[in-house]
Amino acid sequence: MKLLHLRVNGAQVEREVPDNRLLLDFLRDDLGLTGTKEGCSVGVCGACTVLLDGRPISSCLALAVFADGCEVTTVEGLERDGALDPLQRAFIDCGGFQCGICTPGQLIAARALLNEHPQPSNDEIRAWMMGNLCRCTGYYKIVESIRAVADGTVRA
């Protein structure tokens, strides 16, 4: 067992975990943050994307011990003081999701993109988001949603 000290969505967390706990299982089962989804379990689909110290990672391939001393951001941590992240607002307004299973991962990946490139081209959006699979939308509405945030055309 290892005692972890980390910040999750801004809150300090102290928790003991088995050495072989996956970060995904730690978030979902130990902390109850079930917004992060398990899809393929091999790092391909993007449903489990979270930010680890700002970097987008597959939480299904990360050990929970990797997060010791770090900041983890999940989809539950995107809103600020009760207000949705502009990306969440844009996904609603632009129809960036249908069934919703991939949406937490899409939102986190998009947040990482805009943090690194606030004004991405559409090609940059597509290249960055390529690894987050969606079987409903055909991706156009997801790109439009991110475009709207980058262009500042999302309603508050």
């Binding site: 091999v42 391909v44 970097r55 597959s58 990360a62 690894g131």
Partner: protein
């Protein structure tokens, strides 16, 4: 995953001591994208995992004629490094297209090389650029050319207790150009059906030096020496490049799999190598850095 004890050394020396003590029972882990998948499938069941993330000495990028890359640099850190974009832009081009942004943000360059998956993109480019790895162990350090690191399917020349600490890319020759091509008929995040990298150095009309390597066409990344021999000393004409590239079809040793039959990959290799040579030559003539 099996139960294991996770150890997290604070220094490289401490890491090497732990790896020496536990030998084959221990595996170093950095990003985890390869090893965690292997452990989930119970293909690897180490008693000890040695987490490297606190070894910040191995996360640096130094450019001083040669490029010295810490083994713990992630693919994404290298992809956006201005040093690399300046000194070896072909490396940035290749890295930008590895897997997806999460893998590139987790997986380290040293971990990728130690994983020795013959389908990966970095090895052919590093071989073309004449790169070497620095391997540390409790007994000291040794250098190994990247092409000598791979000994078989997921097998390396690393002994238990050894750790890749740095990747060194020498200053690229004047009048050289490098290129990398990967054939991706399905999705952009797939492994290549065939990939190739080349660095050509020109002297007037002639090819003074050639380094050519391919991925996804054998048990290891392959250096294509017959192709190189057919180029060196020749006038850099389209027919010479095409004839040399044709030799790649015989030199590769691909497996039939879901990406195509062995015969198909041999045919594709000749085309991919030719296109790579043409682009490398154009860059060498344009005086662009490799």
């Amino acid at each position: 995953m099996n139960a294991f004890e996770y150890l997290e050394p604070a220094t490289v020396d401490e890491a090497l001591a732990i790896l020496a003590e536990h030998g084959d029972d221990a595996r170093p882990i950095a990003g985890g994208t390869a090893l965690v998948n292997l452990m989930k499938q119970r293909l690897v069941q180490p008693a000890y995992l040695v987490g490297l993330r606190r070894l910040t000495d191995l996360s640096t990028i130094a450019a001083n004629g040669e490029l010295r890359l810490g083994a713990l640099c992630t693919h994404h850190e290298l992809e956006i490094s201005p040093h690399i974009q300046r000194a070896a832009p072909v490396l940035s081009e290749m890295l930008r297209r590895v897997a997806n942004i999460r893998v590139r943000s987790m997986a380290t360059i040293g971990g990728a090389l130690a994983h020795a998956d013959p389908n990966q993109d970095p090895p052919p480019v590093l071989i073309a650029l004449d790169a070497r790895v620095v391997v540390g162990s409790r007994g000291g350090e040794r250098d190994l050319q990247v092409e000598a690191l791979f000994t078989g399917y997921y097998e390396t020349a690393l002994a238990p207790g050894e750790l890749i600490t740095r990747i060194v890319i020498p200053a690229q020759p004047a009048a050289s150009g490098a290129a990398f091509t990967k054939m991706l008929p399905q999705t952009q995040d797939d492994y290549a059906t065939v990939s190739a990298a080349a660095r050509l150095t020109v002297d007037g009309e002639r090819i003074a030096d050639a380094r050519v390597a391919a991925g996804s066409v054998g048990e290891t990344p392959l250096r294509l020496r017959a192709v190189e021999r057919a180029l060196v000393g020749q006038v850099a004409a389209p027919a010479i490049l095409r004839d040399a590239a044709t030799l790649a079809g015989d030199e590769v040793d691909p497996l039939s799999d879901i990406r195509g039959s062995a015969a198909y990959k041999r045919a594709v290799a000749a085309v991919i190598v030719r296109r790579t040579l043409e682009q490398a030559l154009a860059r060498a003539r344009a005086g662009a850095p490799a």
